[in-house]
């Protein structure tokens, strides 16, 4: 099974490396590159998952949403935070978990950012660093 998966270029390890590349590019400010890697990573995690749901997918979608937020693409950020939120709820106890709380908090901020920082990445990043809790998913 593993050999089959790796031969087709799909494995947990590769998906993890792609996500890390996304994190690194995002941290360096190369958001378009980060977006590509996050999308490849989440697609691969989906292939490996049952029913397209896993904690790894939730994490990658969260980081993709964050990346869109920094890029000023708030509608995309909203969309992916919502997908991540739904998935985090699946893995929580009755919908309550640290992960769910983090994503709710970050999603709330996106609606404020939608008009507050329409053309100001600098301000967005400044406020973001105070508002958004990044400790969970390892984005720095």
């Amino acid at each position: 099974m593993h050999r089959e998966l790796s031969q087709s270029g799909v494995s947990e390890q590769i998906a993890g490396v792609l996500k890390n590349l996304g994190d690194n590019y995002s941290a360096m400010g190369q958001y378009s590159d980060a977006e590509v890697y996050y999308k490849q990573s989440s697609a691969m995690y989906r292939k490996l998952s049952q029913n397209g749901v896993s904690e790894d997918i939730a994490c990658t979608l969260h980081n993709l949403a964050y990346n869109y937020g920094v890029m000023g693409q708030y509608s995309d950020a909203e969309e992916y935070y919502k997908q991540s939120l739904a998935m985090c709820r699946v893995f929580s106890q009755s919908g309550v978990s640290e992960d769910v709380a983090h994503v709710l908090n970050n999603l709330g901020f996106i609606y404020i950012a939608m008009f507050q920082y329409s053309d100001s990445e600098v301000n967005f990043r400044h406020e973001l660093s105070m508002f958004i809790d990044l400790s969970l998913f390892g984005v720095s």
Partner: protein, 104 residues
């Protein structure tokens, strides 16, 4: 933390969405482990205060700001800037008159 939240119908719709998610996050953080999320909870209360103020719900805004102030006071490391900012907000609420009718 967010200054002078502007008021119009489009932004109020977005604030309503923000408020919905912040309230859920707040309840969950309080439920889970309020002590280890003190700073985050204070920021959420601060923001809910801003949203309430923008919607002319001044009494509610004051309630949120006071709760946030209390938590900022307990935060480690201390956040004197946040404390000053929220004291200013509470002060300006005292003189603020409700001039617009908010529809949410």
């Amino acid at each position: 933390m967010l200054h002078s939240l502007a008021y119009n119908y489009k932004t109020m719709a977005q604030y309503s969405d923000a408020e919905i998610y912040y309230k859920q996050a707040l309840a969950m953080y309080r439920d889970l482990s309020p002590d280890s999320h003190r700073q985050t909870i204070a920021l959420i209360l601060d923001t809910l205060g801003d949203i309430s103020e923008a919607a002319n719900r001044n009494r509610q805004a004051r309630k949120y700001y006071k709760q946030a102030l209390s938590l900022y006071g307990q935060a480690e490391p201390a956040s004197p800037l946040s404390i000053t900012a929220i004291k200013d907000k509470l002060e300006s609420l005292k003189t603020r008159k409700t001039t617009r009718c908010a529809i949410l």
